[in-house]
Symmetry: C2
Subunit: 472 residues, 2 copies
């Protein structure tokens, strides 16, 4: 697989060089003692299972494409062990409500189908969950804002595989199952068959990330990759694709990756199986989200700078593009328009027959957006100095705007209120404070305000009312 | 056309009987002096052109399907006059970047193509604009919350027409032009070709509404109907379908139906042609929205009732379904889940070959939602009596939630903050006050609060802060 790497110069971004890592000391006493990892990754669930994000600045600094070293990881259990020599013999099946069930190996997939390579942003549904956990503990661990990454994925369009198998009448869903055996069975989940058959959706069965065979944490040797949807649907270590008439009843499909109505408490949720099973609450498409990456948390800047360049990322879901990003320095009273860079569009202008890593880069005819974008805005330092905070919000091209208020829910997912960085004036410097820090790391204005007795849900970030007419 | 009306009993809603109306006195001295109309409709732009919505209660009371009598109308100018006898001879063209340009009549459309009938909700992008106008005057007239209606539309899938014409390489958009000549040319607008070819999007060329030939205000004899998108793309009095490589440069495509960034003022917008032309700000898909219909504005209810049933509507766009509706009686601190009725789903369970009004009702295999839904919630009267207001918000199945705050923009479109009804206690009665009344009609808490000096944008609906810790 490795000798398919590309050397030709390209008109679009290629990934930064990834590192040769080693098995880390802390992993030696876990089932993952065969997995080489980057020590910069922040562990969100203790040592094991491996759930990690990069430091937000490091993630941003890698640019549009993220290496395997810093790409976020969401593992439910031990990583299945697959030797390099066994990769091409990896077996998987396409079965269920199909005319011609298929049993095949990764070797067959590569030899018998057209290969494609797309840039795709994956996002954990829990991205920014720490903010929800500070407001009220949810049933999920504390992602910061780096549960998002972009890579070049190579593989086969799922629609091609399914077309060959031939969905039968009544087929409505596609279920994916991985090789990771967990307390409640193998990890598995389903999506709608219509999406799987829709080329605009770009769902693929992938065996290469950034031109290299999949890293064990990212599904070695084979996984599903679904653009525009939460990462939890992109099943890793793929063993079975099952066409069905109903959504999956896999435990992880029902009890994970849902936004239950906000009034359902963790306690009440234990006795509401019908609520959990209600497909309307299952998350598929991502919603509009954005974050400020620079200034970083605890970054300090001398006040005598002329200008500070704010920088960050944004994404939306279901193929929708983020059409605008707006910055406020006065808590939403006025807004400035940020510049947006859509590096994904650089892939659209290549020749139709261009291949990369053995796959056709055929997104020139596609309307849908599969990737995050970066935004920036120069702020004259005097303005920053006068402000108490700075916030970013995005709106996608379906005019879905990020809300000011948090929608708290029992799994703490899809958190997307305006991303707020507080500005402190200290000895001729401005120091910036992000909402939270990931995992159990202390820091951030949310914990601080809460500790000081502020009500984070008061509509003003727990502050005493500012900009309000209190003359009552 | 009329003898195609259906009499068989159905498992899904059929439209209420429409009335025989007359040309109204006030229309006699306008170019629309040939158009019969229902006097209940509220005129939003004086006598002419005809832009109207029904009283909100009347609209709700008609149920899932709206008659032509109460369906909202958005006309930019005079209604083209087409005699009944000339309808089938109406000529239109499919041209531009196609292999086989087509010139045809409505008669050809009916005889040469498969006919379909779907329930489709149309919504004006300006629905609820009056609320924006009270905050700050926009460049648009004052819709209340009844700029939305649902009907059974019969016609031909636009994709079928385009497939026969054969889009050429480089074709990316489809432009529609009407017969209504306006100060800036014929009304016209474009959408993406990919949508037009996607059966899930359901875009059609329609000549019947609720089983009757189109009423003149609704495009007699032929129009485009686009489910899930703003009404402004569903061109009426259709004359030309033009396949193109670029979005339309028609004046109405550029300078109407856009959500410009919020900081663009009416004054500044006059000198920002590039901003107007930025396709990212063009509105296509609807965003999540909802309203309270009962209690109606100024409805009074005795406090000794046991229970009051709140009722209203909701919709989203791009085929997305509203997955939840939540009611708050304490300004967002706590929420209750409303019941939702998806009458659209009753059309999904019919036989595959079922026809209605001469068109196949083939939505059983479709995932997308094309229609509004109704919600209701019983509130014990003591709770309503204690509350100062009641609000509804919806979230669609892509987890796009209605925001608390208004996103004001220069055209005042896509207004969708939580819909708020204020509760007044008066002499053993509760009296309810909606945000606004349509057009220049006085009434509503927004105008009242503004007149009293409240700042409607303070994050608390202009009220003095309530539920806040002011002990500073």
């Amino acid at each position: 697989l490795r000798d398919l790497e590309e050397k030709t110069p390209r008109s679009y971004p290629l990934p930064p060089r990834s590192k040769k890592n080693e098995v880390l000391q802390e992993d030696l006493r876990t089932p993952d003692n065969h997995v080489e990892r980057d020590p910069r990754l922040i562990r969100l669930t203790g040592v094991h299972p491996f759930n990690v994000e990069a430091p937000l600045s490091d993630l941003y600094d890698e640019g549009f494409l993220t290496t395997k070293d810093l790409h976020y990881v969401r593992n439910h259990g031990a990583v299945p062990r697959v030797e390099d020599n066994d990769m091409l013999d990896w077996e998987f099946a396409v079965e269920g409500l199909v005319e011609r069930p298929i049993k095949m190996t990764l070797r067959d997939l590569i030899s018998d189908y057209e290969q494609v390579t797309y840039p795709i942003t994956l996002v954990c549904a829990g991205n920014r969950r720490k903010e929800q956990n500070v407001v009220r503990k949810s049933k999920g661990f504390s992602w910061g804002a780096a549960g998002v990454s972009t890579a070049l994925w190579t593989g086969v369009s799922l629609g091609d595989l399914l077309a060959r198998a031939g969905p039968k009448r009544g087929a409505k869903y596609v279920f994916f199952e991985g090789a990771d055996k967990l307390p409640n069975g193998y990890y598995g989940t389903s999506v709608k068959l219509g999406w799987a058959m829709d080329p605009e959706r770009g769902i693929m069965v992938s065996y290469k990330m950034n031109g290299e065979p999949l890293h064990p944490d990212h599904g070695k040797p084979l996984r599903i990759v679904i653009p525009g949807q939460i990462g939890g649907r992109s099943v890793k270590w793929l063993k079975r694709i099952v066409v069905t008439s109903a959504p999956s009843d896999n435990w992880y499909h029902i009890y994970d990756n849902r936004v239950l109505p906000t009034m359902v408490s963790p306690e009440a949720s234990a006795n509401l199986p019908d609520t959990w099973k209600d497909e309307r609450y299952a998350i598929y498409d991502l919603s509009t989200n954005s974050a400020i990456c620079y200034p970083a948390h605890n970054e300090s800047v001398p006040v005598d700078l002329a200008v500070y360049k704010l920088k960050g990322y944004a994404y939306s879901g279901g193929g929708r593009r983020v059409g605008r990003l707006e910055v406020t320095l006065d808590q939403g009273k006025t807004w400035s328009l940020a510049n947006i860079t859509y590096q994904e569009d650089q892939y659209r202008i290549n020749k139709d027959d261009e291949t990369l890593y053995g796959g056709r880069v055929d997104i020139s005819g596609r309307d849908a957006s599969f990737c995050w974008c970066f935004w920036d805005l120069d702020i004259p330092m005097p303005q920053l100095q006068e402000a108490g905070d700075v916030m970013i919000r995005g709106m996608d091209d379906s005019m879905n705007v990020q809300p000011k208020d948090m929608y708290w829910s029992v799994l703490g997912m899809m958190n997307n209120p305006w991303y707020r960085v507080v500005i402190h004036k200290e000895d001729g410097m401005l120091r910036f404070e992000h909402p939270t820090q990931p995992a159990l790391l202390p820091g951030g204005w949310m914990e601080r305000v809460k500790k000081e007795g502020g009500d984070l849900t008061n509509g003003f970030w727990g502050d005493k009312i500012s900009g309000q007419d209190n003359a009552a």
